[in-house]
Symmetry: C2
DNA sequence: CTGAAAGCGCTTACAG
DNA sequence: CTGAAAGCGCTTACAG
């Protein structure tokens, strides 16, 4: 099924058929006479004509392809963000290539080259490292891109207002009277962990309760990382009265570590996560957490990239977080839960 | 950077350059004289030449593109399988388009058409419905494809031996003396849930303990679905002594429902999941489950598709499951856990 | 060993 | 309103 075949059957030239089928809304009228337009559209429909994207890309030097790089898709947070990207991309007639970089610089480089070799029009990075010059290099090469989830100085991004989210958690714990708290803070190169921890620590400092350095530990963003981080917190002194783990999966790992130490979540220690993944509400002791608009972040990231591709300006966009209080930190909800 | 530019600088014809740069290993020698080969390779290297994939696809009628359809990437099981697919694809010089179909037939159709419009060479379906003729239609159109995770009559697939896995769980629970058990069985159209439940029920029947129909309930494959399914089990009679939830995320939801009913997992009721996602081991009460080789399944699925594309035969491949016993079903491990 | 030609399927300025 | 031409960047059988 090609334009040529349609043209032949209709006794028209291929260029006429092309104009009719792919004229932009505004110039649809000048493509051909209306009887011709009718005939062409009808036949194309009957034959189920599909434009060949490779021919089009070759000719127009535009692929309608987007590269998406994430640390790992098996992290539900990134997978959900990607679902938003993919959904919005489909609505814009774009297709996406996703690849895992596992937060390893060489893989970030290799995967970037790979999608560029595939001639993507632009890239969405979900794996920005705040301490690396890699994105500056990419920008210097003139590759259009935006960041999602994590931000980096000088590049457009769509992220949750992580700093504010961290403050909200602190506010909540301060209201409950917690004075000795600890943070499992995620990877040191991820703006998410940095800003969530920053907002949290700043709010406690403002309350006259600065958090000592040994109460803040770095960690991987998965359940094992959360467990390991929590173990280090517990090894460094008496258990704090509250623990902020900067992502839900890490918080789940923390639950395991706490239970190994005989600490009852919601009674002996309050735990707060971040993201409000669907798991948080379903846990045996439901997890207090901060809802971040992951799906929406993906959608907006894609739209921002489209704007960049159209030559528009793009600033960093902060999405509003929302505290969701559950039994893991709220004594009232906890005792309601136990009334069975 | 095009072949033409390299040819010009070297005073060669573009066809010679093409032959040198892209000759297959076997015919590499006959591409040009070795000094010419040297010169071409060197310059291509210096200039960082990258073949234009659109031009190549247009010319060769092969895109080196693979479509991957999954219910949803935010399901960690599918995300992990996809990671295997993507990894193996990269090794084979293939790129992938992934799309979510949310297990909705219209979306399965729409996304299939979408990847086909992108001219993929073949498709990997992770969302097969055993009660639908859709895959037969796709096969009838001559589209090469393989299934992963879920199987369907008459189509090549790579899946876990779910029936065996179900039997293993039954065996384990029978050894522990459980006689009154229930199953949260997943979606009725998914071979995973069907076969895991089938193996489990068969083994109990063989032991002279057939499971009554009301003890087997269908459910969605996420935490909320597991919770809802468990609620229905508990509503339909006295609590069973053991509960088999056919996937880990569902099992996590079950934990929530059980705790709402005041049932202590590992004491009042045994719980077993399926997949051994990284979360299972980290839960407050670690979850007994069946390890299924998700990543490997993805890798093998891609390789099987490559074989199909090369015109080879392809049968269904069953991967071996492995029972992982933890405290949620094992009284010994449970009491060891409590010794703090 | 290397070149020349044809053609994959499209788009787009131009001519009539 | 429609056609004809050129060309995007490659590959591949063929000729010399």
């Amino acid at each position: 099924m090609t334009l040529q075949m349609i043209a032949d059957r209709l006794g028209l030239h291929v260029s006429t058929v092309s104009r009719v089928l792919h004229a932009k809304p505004g110039e649809g009228l000048r493509a051909a006479s209306s009887p011709t337009v009718e005939r062409v559209r009808k036949l194309a429909d009957e034959l189920g004509y599909q434009r060949n994207p490779h021919a089009m890309s070759l000719r127009t030097q535009r692929s309608n392809l987007i590269g998406v790089l994430v640390p790992r898709l098996s992290d539900m947070v990134l997978a959900t963000i990607y679902e938003g990207v993919e959904e919005a991309a489909a609505e814009h007639g774009l297709s996406t290539f996703v690849a895992n970089t596992r937060d390893i610089p060489e893989e970030q480089r290799a995967r970037t080259e790979m999608v560029l070799a595939r001639r993507v029009d632009g890239i969405i990075f979900g794996d920005a490292h705040s301490d690396s010059g890699f994105l500056d290099e990419v920008a210097a090469r003139g590759v259009p891109f935006v960041l999602v989830n994590r931000q980096a100085e000088g590049h457009p991004s769509v992220v949750c207002d992580d700093y504010l989210g961290g403050r909200m958690v602190a506010e909540h714990l301060l209201e409950l009277g917690h004075e000795d708290v600890a943070v499992v803070a995620g990877e040191p190169y991820a703006s998410t962990g940095i800003n969530r921890t920053g907002g949290f620590a700043d709010r406690f400092r403002e309350a006259g309760l600065p958090i000592p350095a040994h109460r803040i530990v770095h960690s991987r963003f998965d359940a094992r990382g959360g467990r390991a981080g929590t173990e280090r917190v517990l090894a460094s002194g008496p258990p704090p009265s509250a623990l902020f783990v900067v992502n839900d999966f890490g918080a789940i790992g923390a639950l395991g570590a706490l239970r190994d130490h005989g600490l009852r979540v919601g009674v002996d220690i309050a735990v707060v996560g971040f993201n409000d993944t669907p798991l948080a509400a379903e846990l045996p002791v439901p997890l207090t957490t901060v809802r971040s608009p992951m799906h929406e972040m993906g959608r907006r990231g894609l739209r921002k990239l489209v704007r960049v591709l159209e030559g528009g300006r793009a600033e960093t966009e902060l999405l509003r977080p929302e505290l969701v209080v559950r039994a893991s930190s709220d004594p009232q909800q906890y005792s309601a839960l136990m009334k069975h």
